[in-house]
Amino acid sequence: MRGNRQQKSQRPTKVKSSLPERIAPYAYVAPFFIIFGIFGLFPLVFTFYVALFDWNPIGAHTFIGLANFERLVQDSRFWNALVNTFGIFIISTVPQLILALGLAQLLNHARLRWANFFRMSMMLPYITSVAATALVFGQIFDYNFGLINWVLGLVNIDPINFLASRVGSWFEISAMVMWRWFGYNTLLYLAGLQAIPREMYEAASVDGANGWQQFWRLTIPSLRPVIIFTVVMSTIGGLQIFTEPLLVSPESGLTCGAGRQCQTLALFLYEQGFGQFDFGYGSAIGVALFVIVVVAALINFFLTTRTRGAN
């Protein structure tokens, strides 16, 4: 902004900037727009285009208009995947963000020893490969030989076949998602917390606010931008969840269980596109997923933005 104003003030003196100088700013930002155009915009537009076809990657491409979308609306597998996606999203994101907030409070505590060690260890789950995570959680939740069922067996409870039921498989996948992302969100919250001046808490204490009041009236409103960011990012990521359900039961392939009990929209898209080679229908699912993610992210954005009104 300041640079802008200076330029304006120089204008009356009629110092002309040379052509390269005028082009330079555009050249600096160009790489982003070029890369975005190739890897972001083009695939997006092309997906909309392919969705209008019966598109066999190794055969004919037949224009069929909106037939793929009509089929999608009537396809019980689509609604099933939609329910699964939101189910897994909600039971993984809500507890995760609350947990992250609590952990960030602990890590921000002034008297915590080894604080940096604990803060750094938060990143450990995040940098572990999803495949490795899925392998370990697969072992923990396994029906025949899993750690959980072993413990249940010790207290004479029948083993639970997590993957066989809808809620059980959601639970297993959510555990994986939570484990992977809570540290990342904790650090974001921690950064937000550290930006709040200590004087504000001191002033609040002088005014007689207790711990809870300080948390609700001071901490949460100050963290609002970070909370909005984490909620929107979690929505975008959570609704596109793919790898965890794909790896959770390798023998059932792309349906994530015989009854599609944990098949998410992204997995359904992949099944249709690359399992059935029906690119047109897969693209239609992709378009639907795009719209759903945008709508959900906007709703969450407005909901979280309104937290200020509550205070």
Partner: protein
Amino acid sequence: MGVLALALVAGCGSGGGDDSAAAGDPNAEFTFWSFTGIGAKDSVDEYLAKNPDAKVKLSEVGSTTETATALTAALAGGEVPDLVMIQGDDLPKFVENPDNFIDLRTLGGDDLADEYLDWAVGGATATNGSIVGVPTDVGGLGLAYRADLFEAAGLPSDPTEVAAAWSTWDDFIAMGETYTAATGKPFVDNVETSVFFSTVNQVTEKYYSDDGEIIYDTNPQVADAFDVAVQTYDAGISANIAAWSSGWDPGKANGSFAVTVAPSWILSGIKTAAPDTAGDWRVTTVPGVGGNWGGSVIAIPARAEHPEAAWEYIKTMMSAEAQTEHFQSTGTLPAAKEALTSEAVLSYTDEFFGNSALGQVMSDSVLDFNAYYNGPDTSAIGAGLLNALVDMQNGNVAPDDAWDKGVQNVKDALG
């Protein structure tokens, strides 16, 4: 992310289609995509031993499905291999679009098909007569069972006696009930692959009529096969352990079940999963007529750079003689008729399986097998019905509703 990948691959589509070079060096280095678990490395080694001048670049892409997916992406615009293996279930989609492959008749003459099992070649032949692939192997069906556990339960344990005792599927279920009553343990690993995949491959018409119409929901043979699986479940003799699930391999080792389906390519898996049970297993015929599960073909994409070198490999390694040798070293059952009736195959036994007449059982199974037409959605239909049975075993669908659920699964899949 998925959206992006899909569009990127689609974006490159519909290129190529240029004619392959007319002449070329048969010893040029060619790329060969295979899937894992079929012994492709051994096969390439054998080829190099026979033809020291040849150069092969082998990639074991992944599972059969992953290989088919990679091939699809390659055909849609990527760099294609010179030679590729395609598993039976994935084959119809490729055969439907034969322009993507070299018609092997143009390389090997019209009598190419005579050498192999008719139905195996039939599955790789397009409606315009183009032969897309040469059969590398078939999946002759048998049942593997634990002789020691059978004996302990007071059942016959000799393969011929067992085969006679379960000559029908009703007998099979009755035997299972005797076994479970005597031991308190499940008889068979699961109903979807061990029973349904066996029975549904013993039909004369499967999911398509001979003229290509979809009839899975009206064909009584399919409904009967499905019903045998439901009855097996109702009898309470299934361990409900899905094939390739985490409990399957340990189950073979610790006797969680006594019987599992054994197409020829599964046998080596029993050996690696349960080495301590060596000598306890036997292999015999399935109840009823023979059957087939699996098998593959080998094909040359139309845009291959070195089709002559790839063809040289097919000629050398797919001969009856070479398929017999490959069977002896890796256990994949030949698709060449001459090989299937050769002394080497018929007399083949394995100590691990108590010297059961493995070769004879497998060979009989595919020679007695009724050919039926497999259409482009055969594997999707099979998966829909199979999933209903798995869902039933997981307690999510009542046995009486399983068939309706299966039909619904297929209807959803076919759109």
